[in-house]
Structure formats: structure tokens, C-alpha cells
């Protein structure tokens, strides 16, 4: 009987020990960030360019927003050396510098070294739907065999290190943020480790940039039946989407391509000779790609002057005048520019006004002032 009791006690302890091994301590929480969901209204694309190794999370976007606007992203703390993405990418200007930028006169941007960018900026809007390449020449694209130049994450690294941008050092930047109170905890929540890495800095900012979605312009509301456009705006829309009108839609979309760009590259007849070392040819090496640049989105177009890759036009009126009568025919002009044989689409003054009125209906004021996209009131170490 005694032997049987001892045996029972042994079995009990053994089971107790094993059960202790299988149970995790209560104080270790598994890393499980909250997925960030982009609301996609019909008929916006359902396919999005979100790399599998950088899924969007609430915590990642939150951290990315801080980093996007924190001037210490340059890796320096002296007030004269502070520079961040938000220094040039102004929300009110659709995340471009804009022609009214207080520092960069005329919208022409230079870095901390004083060196100017080779092209004017492109807006940071709806980039989550771009698969064709980032930048005026599309040098960053997902299928690029050079893995250093594939996506927005790479743009962050380039922006931080380039002489004509933040002119920083990635090690210096990550070490700086490691020591700023509040940031390591945010990295921990976003990526599961409080050790700051530049890879995680790239990923967080890229997540924030992908969250910059504009789907609520007057034209979007019109398509949803929420408001009516003016006769001038509607006439402009007809001009925009007809070959016999202004013929904009093949490159710049319309109701069924609400991105208002194809994100593709065209020679639109601005020039007949080409000397820019950063045109599409510089990416593909194809002679037929000389003088080609991305068709930018027309969302918030009024805020994104100066226009064209080199900022040659400082007003929308001048752009419309160019397409109306300033297009130059050349052997490399895109076939879609069929009006080039007569210098452009030849709009009357009224048609120009109508076309402009329609393009202004693509402005999304909610996007331009959305507090979720704006500079935070305070940074983590200021809380």
C-alpha cells in the first residue's frame, strides 16, 4: 500500500513538471502587431504594392510617421542640420515641395549639401498602387534584379544618404534613434525588437508613405453620386476623355482608372533633342526611351507646381497651353501624342478653362489636411 502511494506521488510530480514545461510564462507576450488596413473604395485597384517582407501595421505606420517628420533623420541634431522627408514633402502640396515652399524657391529642391535634385519632386500620393517604378524615370521597380533599387524602402535609404538630400550615414542615423527616448519602444511595437536598425527605419517610413491614400476628391464624390459638378467641370471631363477633345485619358486615366495616371513612361513632345542623363533611357538602355518620363498623377494637381520633370512650367495654365499648341513632333514622340502633327490638341479659351476646372475637381482637400498624415504634435522624446 505504501509502495503504491509513493508511486502515485511520483506520477503526480512528473506530470506537474511536464505541465510546467509546456506552459509559457505569462509575462512574455508574442509579437503581434495590428494589421493596417487600407480602405479601397470602388473602383480603385485591389492589387497593392506592399512587399511581403514589410506588411503594413498600425504600429509600423505610426512609427513611420514620426520618422518621416523627425529632422534627426539626417543623423544630426544641430538645428542647422536637421532634415527629414517632411522638410520637402509638404502635405498641403500633396507631399511635394510646391512652388510656395518657404525654403526651396520655385519648388526646386536641394539637399543639405546645397546640391539640387536633377528633377523636381513627384507627389507622394497613392503610391501603394504603383507597380511600374518610382521616380520620374522609374529606376526603382519591384522586378529589378538589382535588389538595392526595388521599392519605397530603397527610396528612404537613398534619400537619407544622397548628397543632394539628407546627406546622412545609415549607422549614424540608427545609432541616434537608438538613443532617443521613446523610439526604441516604438520600434519594439512595430517590429518586435527595440534594437533600432536602418532596415526597420526604411520599412516604417515606407509603410507611412503607402498609407498616403487619396480617394476623396470632388470628382470621386461626383462618381459616388454625392455631389454634382459644374457645367464647366463636366465639359472639361468630356474634353479630358475624348480623342477629339484634349485626349488626356490614355496616359492620365479617368473614371475607370481613378489613379489619374498609368504610372507609365512617355515622351510627350516637350523637346526634340535629349540630354538629361536621368530619363527613362538611363534605366532601360533603349533608344526609344530617350526623353521619356513618368506620367504623374493629376490628383491635387493645382498644388504640385512646378510641372514636368524639370519644372519648366510654373502654372497649370502653361501646361494646358503646352498640350494645346506647344507639342513638338519628333521621331521619338509617343504614338499616343497623335495631335503633335498640328502642335497639340488646339483648345479654345473656353475649353482650356473647362479642362482646368475639371482637373481642379481632382483635388482631395481631406487628404491635404488629414491629421493622420500631418506632422505629429510632438515626437516620442517630447511626450
Amino acid at each position: 500500500m505504501l509502495r503504491q502511494s509513493w508511486f502515485s506521488v511520483l506520477v503526480f510530480f512528473t506530470l506537474f513538471l511536464f505541465s510546467g514545461c509546456t506552459n509559457k510564462p505569462d509575462d512574455i507576450q508574442p509579437f503581434k502587431p495590428t494589421p493596417y488596413l487600407i480602405e479601397v473604395p470602388f473602383p480603385f485597384p485591389t492589387s497593392m504594392n506592399i512587399p511581403s517582407d514589410n506588411p503594413m501595421t498600425e504600429e509600423g505606420v505610426k512609427l513611420g510617421r514620426y520618422l518621416f517628420y523627425d529632422g534627426r533623420l539626417s543623423g544630426r541634431t544641430h538645428p542647422d542640420s536637421l532634415m527629414s522627408c517632411g522638410t520637402c514633402h509638404i502635405q498641403a502640396n500633396s507631399f511635394e515641395a510646391g512652388i510656395n515652399h518657404p525654403v526651396f524657391q520655385g519648388g526646386f529642391v536641394h539637399g543639405l549639401s546645397g546640391e539640387y535634385l536633377p528633377h523636381v519632386m513627384l507627389p507622394l500620393v497613392n503610391l501603394v498602387w504603383n507597380f511600374s517604378g518610382y521616380g520620374w524615370n522609374g529606376f526603382l521597380f519591384p522586378d529589378n534584379t538589382d535588389q538595392r533599387f526595388q521599392n519605397i524602402e530603397d527610396f528612404v535609404r537613398i534619400g537619407v544618404t544622397a548628397e543632394n538630400e539628407l546627406m546622412g550615414d545609415t549607422n549614424q542615423v540608427k545609432n541616434l534613434f537608438q538613443g532617443i527616448k521613446g523610439y526604441p519602444e516604438l520600434f519594439g511595437k512595430a517590429f518586435g525588437s527595440e534594437v533600432v536598425t536602418f532596415d526597420h527605419i526604411e520599412k516604417a517610413i515606407a509603410q507611412f508613405v503607402r498609407s498616403l491614400v487619396s480617394t476623396d476628391s470632388r470628382f470621386d464624390k461626383y462618381l459616388r453620386g454625392e455631389l454634382q459638378l459644374s457645367p464647366s467641370e463636366l465639359n472639361g471631363y468630356v474634353l479630358f476623355t475624348t480623342e477629339d477633345g484634349a485626349d488626356c485619358f490614355h496616359c492620365h486615366g479617368g473614371s475607370a482608372n481613378p489613379l489619374f495616371t498609368t504610372h507609365l513612361f512617355y515622351n510627350n513632345g516637350k523637346d526634340t533633342t535629349y540630354s538629361d542623363p536621368f530619363d527613362r533611357y538611363s534605366v532601360t538602355g533603349l533608344e526609344s526611351d530617350r526623353g521619356k518620363y513618368k506620367a504623374p498623377t493629376l490628383r491635387n494637381i493645382a498644388m504640385t507646381a512646378p510641372y514636368m520633370h524639370d519644372g519648366r512650367y510654373n502654372s497649370l495654365d502653361k501646361v494646358i497651353d503646352f498640350y494645346s499648341s506647344g507639342v513638338q513632333l519628333s521621331p521619338l514622340i509617343d504614338p499616343l501624342m497623335h495631335h503633335a502633327v498640328r502642335g497639340g490638341v488646339q483648345l479654345t479659351m473656353t475649353e482650356k478653362a473647362d479642362l482646368k476646372a475639371f482637373m481642379l475637381s481632382l483635388q482631395d482637400d481631406d487628404f491635404l489636411s488629414n491629421p493622420n498624415f500631418s506632422s505629429p504634435v510632438s515626437f516620442p522624446d517630447e511626450n
Binding site: T241, D247, F249, H250, G254, A256, P335, M337
Partner: protein, 290 residues
């Protein structure tokens, strides 16, 4: 002793009965057909952006790219049975700049002998609804609602040497055509109702109040059908070439002349009509394996 024997007999009977109730497996023999889309001029795959070609009207011309929709493929077997392709809802986007789109794999097709192939060039009325595709590249093919909605059947882009000696761009874009009222009413006309104010092509949307001066729309898609003897062998892949003979878009009587039609034809139903007629002779099927 009797009970175990009885149980044994019942068990054996039940087992046999259950065996006989198993469904008879009918092995459906299937094979695969790979459609290879070729785009040729005068029998050779066209050379992009090279002024090498001359059409029946005498225009020197070149081709940059072609994007088009092929839909509702049907294979007719020797018993007259029609096999309809339902993959991708029966719609395939072809783009000469996207190599992967120029080969269409049709799987799980009944093995047997076939003697005809049919398809629709473009999209029929049922399929050609606006906002059908929200993702690129198909969404980039949209045909504006003002012009009838839906999608381009085809964008064929290139240049020709015009009478001024200029290398002039042309957009041979096919889709829904329009008949217009007399253009004399100006802007006010956009707010009148015409017989074309049917928004079936943009279902799900509140239509614009702008009503066009279009009196009616014209469906310009057409069916392509050709005899072709081929076999689908169980477990094997057959290959069929679908060749778009580009030069034939510009033949006919009288031949299509770029100098007459200019650089754009989306709003020229007469040109669309010529393309629809010429299109009947544009496609040629061949079978590589047999």
C-alpha cells in the same frame, strides 16, 4: 452456434453490397492547349518602332505596341460539341509589351479530335461593362463612358509617314462606336437627354448629368472562326498559334489609308466599321504539332 454463423453471413453480404455501391469511376481524359499569340506583318513577327512596312494604301508605317482583348474562346470537336473556355471569366488581355500575356494556357480540356476554333475579338455587350477591371493593365484599357463605356477592344499604336513627310503618330483604337447628332448645339447639348443615355455600361454608378450629343452607340466587336484540325491528347499539351496579321487591318476595298483617317479613330465610326470588316481576315490559326 447458429448466431455467429449468421453474423458472419450478414457481414459478408454487407461488405459485398457496399463494394457494389461504390461509384463507378469514369476517367475523364483531359489535355492542355497552349495558345501562342503572334503579331506579324507580312508573315514575320513585327519589329517594334522600325519604319519597315508599307500597307495596301501605300503608307509607310511602323508599329510600337498592341494591347487587345480576346474572349469567349470555343473549341469545336469532331462530333460538333463545343467546348467553351471559362478560365478568367473567358477574357484574356494580350499585350505585345508584356511577353507573359502572349501565351494562354487552356487546361483540363476533353481529349479528342477537334476541327474548329472560335473567339470574340474584343468583348461582347454582356462582358464589356465599365469598371469590370479595377486592376492594371486591364483597367488602363477603359473606353470613356462618353464614347460608350467599357473597354478598348484593341489599342494598336504606331506611326506612319504622312503626306507632309512627317513620321506621324496613329492610334488604331477599336471599341464601341458612336453615332452623333449634328454638332451645332454647343455646350448646352451636354445636358440634354439623347437616345444614348443608357448607363447599363456603368452599372453601379450614378451617371453623370452630362448627356452627350451621341445619338446611339455601335457594338463593333466581332467573332473570329476558323477550321483547324487538331487533337487534344490526354496528359499532353498541344500548341495552337493565333496569328494577328497586322497588315490585314489596313486592307479591304478601298484599303485603309492613314492619310484619310488621321491619327485617331475612337470617334470615327466609319473607320471602326472598316476595321470590323477587315478584322474578319486578320487572324490565322495554325497548329505546330500536327
Amino acid at each position: 452456434m447458429k448466431t455467429p454463423k449468421l453474423l458472419l453471413i450478414i457481414c459478408i453480404v454487407l461488405m459485398l453490397a457496399s463494394c457494389s455501391k461504390e461509384p463507378v469511376k469514369v476517367e475523364v481524359k483531359t489535355g492542355t492547349v497552349a495558345l501562342k499569340l503572334l503579331h506579324t506583318i507580312d508573315g514575320n513577327v513585327f519589329q517594334k518602332d522600325v519604319l519597315l512596312y508599307q500597307n495596301r494604301a501605300g503608307n509607310q508605317y511602323q508599329v510600337s505596341n498592341i494591347q487587345w482583348f480576346l474572349s469567349d474562346i470555343e473549341l469545336v470537336n469532331s462530333d460538333g460539341i463545343v467546348v467553351k473556355i471559362v478560365k478568367g471569366d473567358g477574357v484574356f488581355y494580350i499585350d505585345t509589351d508584356l511577353h507573359e500575356t502572349c501565351s494562354v494556357l487552356l487546361e483540363d480540356l476533353p481529349a479528342g479530335n477537334y476541327n474548329a476554333v472560335k473567339f470574340t475579338f474584343g468583348l461582347n455587350e454582356e462582358k464589356n461593362t465599365s469598371y469590370r477591371f479595377v486592376n492594371p493593365p486591364e483597367s488602363f484599357m477603359f473606353w470613356p463612358d462618353y464614347l460608350g463605356g467599357g473597354y478598348h477592344y484593341m489599342k494598336l499604336n504606331g506611326k506612319w509617314m504622312n503626306t507632309m513627310g512627317q513620321l506621324a503618330p496613329y492610334n488604331f483604337h477599336l471599341g464601341i462606336g458612336q453615332n452623333y447628332y449634328q454638332k451645332s448645339s454647343g455646350l448646352a447639348h451636354y445636358f440634354e437627354f439623347g437616345s444614348a443615355d443608357s448607363y447599363a455600361h456603368c452599372e453601379g454608378f450614378n451617371p453623370p448629368y452630362t448627356l452627350p450629343d451621341v445619338s446611339s452607340f455601335v457594338q463593333n466587336y466581332f467573332e473570329v472562326s476558323q477550321d483547324l484540325d487538331f487533337s487534344i491528347v490526354s496528359g499532353s499539351e498541344s500548341s495552337i498559334n493565333v496569328e494577328m496579321q497586322i497588315e490585314k487591318w489596313f486592307e479591304g476595298n478601298p484599303p485603309y489609308n492613314h492619310d484619310d483617317w488621321g491619327g485617331s479613330i475612337m470617334q470615327q465610326q466609319q473607320a471602326q466599321d472598316i476595321a470590323r470588316i477587315n478584322g474578319q481576315k486578320v487572324f490565322r490559326f495554325s497548329n505546330e504539332n500536327q
